[in-house]
Symmetry: C2
Subunit: 205 residues, 2 copies
Amino acid sequence: MSLRHAVLGLLSESPASGYDLMKLFNASLANVWPATQSQVYGELGKLTSAGLAEVSAHGPRGRKEYAITDEGLAELRHWLAEVPPSGPHRDDSLLRVFFLGVLTPLEARTFLLGRAQETARLHATYRRIDEEAEWDDDMISVYGRLALEYGLRMTAAQEEWARWAAEQIDSVKAREAGNRARSRLRNGTGTRNGTRNGDDLTPTE
Amino acid sequence: MSLRHAVLGLLSESPASGYDLMKLFNASLANVWPATQSQVYGELGKLTSAGLAEVSAHGPRGRKEYAITDEGLAELRHWLAEVPPSGPHRDDSLLRVFFLGVLTPLEARTFLLGRAQETARLHATYRRIDEEAEWDDDMISVYGRLALEYGLRMTAAQEEWARWAAEQIDSVKAREAGNRARSRLRNGTGTRNGTRNGDDLTPTE
DNA sequence: CTCTGACGTGTCAAGAGTGGAATGTGGGAG
DNA sequence: CTCCCACATTCCACTCTTGACACGTCAGAG
């Protein structure tokens, strides 16, 4: 239900055609709320029917420039100030963490370090944007900068976490190796079965 | 496309009925990958057709217990180790930040502090879970703990960010009040033009 | 014995989101 | 002057997700 508000938000800055909006989406909202052509054009239609936006001008190639209406602006404000944002979202990467036990510790470690690398890459991208942009005191600069800082902090924290998590696995592995060694000393038998690479862990003595 | 893998992941730990899975989803994956009945039952059907899971037992009330097949386990492993996780996701709250300029700075500040409070609440919830759970060295404990730590770190960072962002607004407001005062001193005229509620921001001072 | 509540499965409609393709116009490079 | 690319819109078919509804069954409290 928020694509609607993303479109309204962009229109609140200046009137634009569907094509323009697509560029804006790809440029500024790509990391926050990606949208496809079909969605944007569809939403513009619905917005117009609902009286939240209107066609403000016709251009060269059948271009229709949309502007936000007063009603639309009211709806946008209402959404911003009064509708409670929805909680935590689906997270592909985090979901995998839950099931990392299915892999070998080595594979799990590799996965986490991969995540670390990926977030680091993202972080670098954000930093470059931050450095190259010219920030002044106007609306878009102030709030855009806030959003960017969010990205910077989250990616940094994520990378740190991923590295920490990889270390955790190492230390568990080490502890287990120790246990196994002790166990071997105690009962003299070396190898054990491993049907589901899961239950030959934790002989916690 | 990941609901499928969430179900496979849960089945990889032990066979379960659709009903059981729903409980597991609500208990452990609620914050990471919520799912509804219709989705779970639907997916179980598809999984069975695809040969990734099978009905392993029939119970009392038409209960069907599903188990993961070797093929399913292979698919799960493949997904975990080889399919690249998808990037950043849609974020309702962050989207709003972009358009906070539509509100007055005071309202924007309120929004951000509300976010801070909300993340703090979540953080506390996670911490309680962390303290109340008994962690040992088995799979689920180790990797579940990793996921929980992720939640703890992210919420902490988010709260910090929200408080910082609220401060930023304060300081911009202050700077603007200063500019306005200086401007008044320079040319003796108080009001300036403001096409788009941008620069006639709340006469602080 | 009956009724309630947990167990358990399933369907449907509607809205989001994805990805691709068809169609046409106008302006500027060469 | 012509051709190509950027501009610009619209439609389609599909999957995912949500939320509600409908149905039937077993066990135990009163």
